[in-house]
């Protein structure tokens, strides 16, 4: 069984987690033009490699960041948003 470590609840089965997609910095909605906003809404960094992603520990509704390699599925580390060491 694959496992993921929630920064609050520790190592749990992957079945307890929801994938929330890659972390994407939001441009300022007041000042960007339509094309940059569309790119933010739709485009993804689809090429394989290490990515920062949102994950949620579903039973406790804890959202956090995981750094994961999207080819090997190896999880390098997890931390709460804004608490990257």
């Amino acid at each position: 069984m694959k496992q993921l470590t929630c920064p609050i609840n520790g190592t749990r089965s992957i079945a307890e987690f929801i994938y929330g997609g890659e972390l994407r910095p939001m441009p300022d909605p007041q000042s960007v033009d339509d094309s940059i906003w569309a790119a933010y809404v739709f485009h993804r960094d689809g090429a394989p490699g290490v990515k920062r992603e949102w994950w949620c520990h579903s039973p406790s509704n804890t959202w956090f960041i995981a750094e994961r390699h999207t080819v090997t599925d190896e999880i390098l580390r997890t931390y709460l948003y804004g608490e990257e060491a």
Binding site: I14, H43, R44, G46, E53, D73
Partner: protein
Amino acid sequence: MMDISCGDRAPILGALYHAPGSIARHDAVAWGYGRGADQRGVEIHQQTEVTGIEVQSDRITGVETSQGKISTPRVLCAVAGFTPRLLEMVGLRSPITIHPLQAMVSEPMKPWLDPIIVSGSLHVYVSQTARGELVMGASLDPYELHSTRSTLEFTEGLAAHMLELFPFLSQVKVVRQWAGMADMTPDFAPIMGKTPIQGFYLDAGWGTWGFKATPVCGKTMAYTVARDRNHTLIEEFGIDRFTQYALVGEKGAASVGH
């Protein structure tokens, strides 16, 4: 007489029947196309990896491969789960993300299942092959991964749902499972046609669609490449539909939770 109340636990309230629905051997179709292309003079280079695509002033000039360089003003990219890697080579961004799609096969048994059965609520589709095996699939893996690995989570989940439909299969063994990489778009429609790079044509984002649209894709993409103009049938599928907020209201996607 059929008990559709299912002991009142999960009563059947309705169903769809699609009379012309049928199964075709996708491997045979792929090999048929391969042979047909070969007989017409197309060179198929197996074991040859694309390592780079040359772009000068937003125009295609060539392709670098593990066997050497090919000079060309035109490239058609139709590589399914490898699309993001090739788009990165030409500096294009897209909404495509890659998710594994898994399937599995049971040991062979006597024929009992003639139609194909799909359950949208259980995320199951199943049919029986001419050899008697059940071919079973479910929805996409829940997160992005560029890999064709198989998982026990998938086998357990799909087997549990299969037993809800057909409890008499409880002693049947699974003999094989596999995965493919599905290139998914936000509106579940493909991305086809010309791109902002002159001479770079895309036929991607087919995700979980299977192979049934292959013939018309071939015709419309051949037209598009030959005339450097999108065929009218594929105009709505351009990669620029996202920046124009003109997504396709896809009505033909499979009835499982892909």
